[in-house]
Amino acid sequence: MENIILTLIIFFPTLGALLLLIIPGDRKDSIKGITLIISFVTMILSFWLYAMFETHGLGMQMEVNIPWIESMGVGYHLGIDGISLLLIVLTTVLTLLAVLASWHSIHHNLKGYYFSILILMTGMIGVFCSLDLFLFYVFWEVMLIPMYFIIGIWGGVRRVYAAIKFVLFTMFGSLLMLVGILYLLYQYQAFSGEYTFDILKLYHTPLTFIEQMWLFAAFALAFAIKVPLFPFHTWLPDAHVEAPTAGSVILAGVLLKMGTYGFLRICFPMFPDATITFLPYISVLALIAIIYGALVAMVQKDVKSLVAFSSVSHMGFIMLGMFALNIQGLQGSVLQMLNHGISTGALFLMVGMIYERRHTRLISEFGGLAKVMPLFSTLFLIVTLSSIGLPLTNGFVGEFLILLGLFDANKVYAIIASSGVVLSACYMLWMFQRVVFGKITNPENEKLVDLTLREKLVMFPLIILIFWIGIYPKPFLEKIEPAANMVMKHMERASSVKFDEENSRLVIIDDSDAVLISTDYETIKK
C-alpha cells in the first residue's frame, strides 16, 4: 500500500474526471454526485495517508521511484514529508468543500466545470508529492489550465481579463523556472555524469555563488508570483474577485501555498547561499506585503478583493516566517499555510454564500445581516476572528510562532510585522461591522434566509479545524517538525550558514562573501 497510495491519491481525481467525460452533460445531478464521491474518496485516502504517516520519521516517506523517461533522467519519483502531508490533506478537504459549495452556483457546462476541478486536484496534489523536478514542473503547469478555465468560463464580469492576467503572470514565472531546471540538470550532469531531475539528488549539485544567485532568482520569481509577494500580487485581487467561489477557495487555499512550498522544497535546500544573500530583500518585500496588503484591504469596496488583499498580507507573514530560518519560524509558517487555507477558504465560502443570495459582493450593499442571518453572522465572526489571529483560533498559533521565530532572527522585522496584527483587526472588523452590524438599510436584505443544511455542512469542518488547531496544535506541529529541521539541515551545506542543533536554527557565519546584510541574524565569526 505504501507504494501506491500517493499515486492513487494523485490520479484518483483524474480517473473521476475521465468518468465524467462519458456522462451526458445534461445529467447534472449525476455529474455533481460523482464529483462529490470522487473528491470525498480522495479525501478519505488522504486521511489514510495521514494515518499511515510516521510522525517522527526523518526524510521522505511513501517514496516511489520508477524511471520514466530514462534517456533524460526523468523519474516518477514521489514522496512526502510532514509539510507536503498537511498540504495534501488541506487540498483534499478544501476541494471537497469547494465542490459542495458550488452545488447551486454553477449553471452552465457543469461537466466542464467539475472536470476542471478534478484535474486541478490532480495537479495540486501532484505538485506536493513530486520529488522529481520534471514531474513537479508538469504538475505545476497542469494546475494552471483548469484554473484558467474555471476563472475564464465560470467567473464574473471581467473574467477573461482576470484569467489571462492570472495565466500570464504564472506562465512568466514558470518559464523562467523551466530554464532554471534545465540549467540545474546540465550542471548536475557535469558534476556526476548522470542526467537526473531527482530533487533529492539535485540538492547536492555543486554550484558557484553566482550560479546560485541566478538560479535562485529564476525559481524564486516563479514562486514569488504564486505566493504572491509584493509587487507581483496584482493578479490576485482580479483573479479572486472574478473567480467563482470554488475557484477562489482553491486559489487562496491551495494554489498560493505552492509558492511558499516551492521555496521550502527547492529554493532553500538547493541554493542556500543565495537564500542567505537574498534574505534581506525578500524579507523587506514580505514586510511591505504585510503592511501594504493590510492598508489596501482596508479601503476595498468589494468583500472578495478585501479578502484577496488580506491574503497578500497573510502570505507576507508566511514568507517572513520561512526566512527567519529557525524552527519556530518555519513551523509557524507551515502551520500558517494550513491556517490561511482554512480561514481564507472559509471567508471565501461565506462570501460566496451571501453572493449566491444577493448577487453582489459590494460591502455597501450589505449591513444588518446579524438580524436576518444569525447563524451566518456567528460563523462569519468566528472565521473573521481566526483570520485576525485571535488566541484559541488557528490563526493565532501560526502567527505567534512566526513572529516569535522572526523576533529571534531579526527584531526590527518582527516589530514591523507585528503591526500587521493591529491592521488586520482594523480591516477585518471594519468589514465585519459594515456587513453584519447596523440596521438593515437595503430592503433586499430583509428576506435573506439563513444558512441551509448544505452550507452548514460546508462550514462545519472548517470551524472544527479552526478551533482544533487553535487549542491543540500539537498533532500538526509534530508532523512539521522533522521536515522543517530537514530543510535547515539541507541548507547547512552552504558555506555561509551553520545549523545550531541545540536551538534548531540556522546561524549565519560572518566574513563569508555570501553575507551582504545580516545585521540582526545570529552570526558567528569564522
Binding site: M298, Q328, Q331, P391, F400, F407, S418, V422, P473, L477
Partner: protein
Amino acid sequence: MTEYIYLIPILPLIGFLINGLALNRLPKSVVSAVACGSIGLSFVLSVILFFELKALEPSSRVIEQVLFPWISVGSFHVNFAFLLDPLSAIMILVVTGVGFLIHVYSVGYMSHDPGYSRYFAYLNLFTFSMLTLVLADNFLLMFVGWEGVGLCSYLLIGFWFEKKSASDAGKKAFIVNRIGDFGFLIGMFIVFWSVGSLNFNQVSSIAPTVFAFGGTLITAACLLLFVGAIGKSAQIPLYVWLPDAMEGPTPVSALIHAATMVTAGVYMIARTNVLFMLAPDALMVVAVIGAATALFAATIGLVQNDIKRVLAYSTVSQLGYMFLACGVASFSAGIFHLMTHAFFKALLFLGAGSVIHAMSNEQDMRKMGGLKKHLPITFMTFLIATLAISGIPGLSGFFSKDEILWKSFSSQSGHPIFWVIGFITAGLTAFYMFRLVYMTFYGQERMDEKTKSQLHESPKSMTIPLMVLALLAVVGGWVGMPHILGATNYFEDWLSPVFSHGEAVNTHALLSSTADSSMEWLLMFASVALVLVAIYLAYNFYLKKTSLSTAMKEKLSGVHKTLLNKYYVDEFYGAVIVRPIIYFSLFLWKIVDVLIIDGLINGSATVYNDISEFLRQGQSGRVRSYATIFTLGVVVLLAFFMTD
C-alpha cells in the same frame, strides 16, 4: 480540592456553550439559571480554594495545574496550565464574586431584551476569558485571556449592533486594545528569548539572572508590556475607547469596563512585578502615566453630562491611581485599590443602570434630578459608593486610596509631585461624584411627565446585588488598614509572597524615604479635608446656587468647552492617525496598485498590442497584395538558390 482549579474557568465556558449553541431556543429562566449558576459555582469553588490556599504555609501558596501541552516548537514550550497563588486567588474572588452579582443583576436588567441568551452567553464567555487571564501560569495563556476579554468586550459593547454608535465603539475598543496587544506581544518575545520560558514562576526566578538591573532590554520589555496594559486599562494615550464603550448595556460597563477587564493591566504588572522591579525607569514611566491619566480623566469627568460617561472617566482616573501605585513599586496597594474599586465602581455603574432603567433609558443627567424619593434603595447604595470613592474615612475607598497616596509620597521610587497630583485628583473625584449625586438624586425633577409617571424602583434581582455590593464597598477596605491606625494590614501580608521576588531584586524601591508617621497623619488629614471641601463646593454649585455653576461655565467657557469635548483627543486622533491612514491606503490602492503596478503590466501588454496593431496593417485582407508579396518571396528565394 486544588485539582479542580480548572473548573473555575471551565464552568462559565460550559455556560457559554450551552447558551451559545442553543441559539435562542432556551426559555429565559433556563438561560439565566445556566449563566448565573455556572458563575455562582465558580465563585463557591473560588472561595473554597481561597481558604485551602490560606491553610497552606505562606511560602508554599503556589499551586500549578498543567492541563495539556499547548504549543511546543523547538525550545519553545507552553502549557495550558493554571496558577493559583495569593494574587490570582484575590482576582478570581473579585471576578467571580462581582461577576456573579452582576449576572444576577442582569437577569432583571436585560429581562426585556430580545438578545437575552446571546447576552448571557457573551457574559459567560467573558468570565471564562477573564478567569483564564488571571489564572494563567504563563504569558501566552494570559494573552489568550487578554485577547478573549477584548473580544467579549467588543461583542458586548456592540451588543445592540443595530446602533451604529455601538458597533463603532466596539470596533474602536477592539482595535485600540490590539495596539496595546502589539506591545504585549513584543514584550513577551523579549522575555522569551532572554529567559527561555514564558512561565511566570520561571521568569520570576530566572529573570534577575539574565537581565542586567535597569538594562535597556528589560526596560524595553517592561515598557512594551506596559503598552499592553495601557491599551487594556485605558490609560493615556489609549484611553479613548473606554468612554465610548459605555454604548454597551450598563451591567456590561459595570463588569467589564469598571470591575474586571480594565484592571487586567494592573494585574499584569503586579504579576510581572519582578520584571518591573528590574527596570526602575519603566516603573517611573508607569507612575507618570498613571498619575497623568488620573488627573487628566478626572478633569474631563467634571463637566460630562452623561451619567455613564462621568463614571467612565472616573474609572479611567481610578485606574490611573492603580498604575501610580504600581509605578511606585507598591503593587499590593494597586491590587488593593483594584479590589475596592471593583466593589464601589461596580456598585456605581449598577446604580446608574438602575437609574437609567427607571428613567426609560435616559442617560442625560440634565434631565434627571430628585430621584431620591423614587429610588430609595438605589439612592442609598449609590451614596455609599460615592462616599467610598471620594475617600470618606472608614469606607473601603479611603483605605486603598490613602495607601496609594502615602506610598507615592513616601516610597523611594515615589515623589511628592505624585502625591500632589493624587491629592488634587482626590478632590476632583469627590467634586464630580457629588455633582453626579446632586444632579441625579437631589433638586428639581427635570424629566418629562411621561418618564416621571413611569419612575419605579428596580426589581429585587437588581436591588439585592446593589445592597451586597454596598456592604462590600463599606467593609471591603477593612482588610487593608494602614499600620499607623494600629491595625494589621492583612491584605499586604497575604500578597507579600507574590511580591517578595520583586522586592528581593530591588530592595530599596519600597523603602520609605520619609518613614515618618506624623507626616502620614498630616497627609491623611489633608486629603480628607480636601474631599470635604470638594463636597461642599459641589453642594454649592449644583444644589444650592445652581446659578454659580452657570456663571462659572460662562466665565471659563473656553476651558469648559475643551473639557466637554474631552480635550479634542478623539478629533486629534481622527485627524492625525485615522484619516491619514485611510488616505494613504487609498493612495496605495488607487495609485500604487492600480496605476503603477497594474499600469506597468497593462502598459507592457498595451505596447505589445500596439506593435501587433502596426504589424497587422500588412494583413490587408487583399488577395492581390498577398500574392505580390508571395511572388516577391519566390523571387528572392530563387535568387538565393541561384547564387548558391
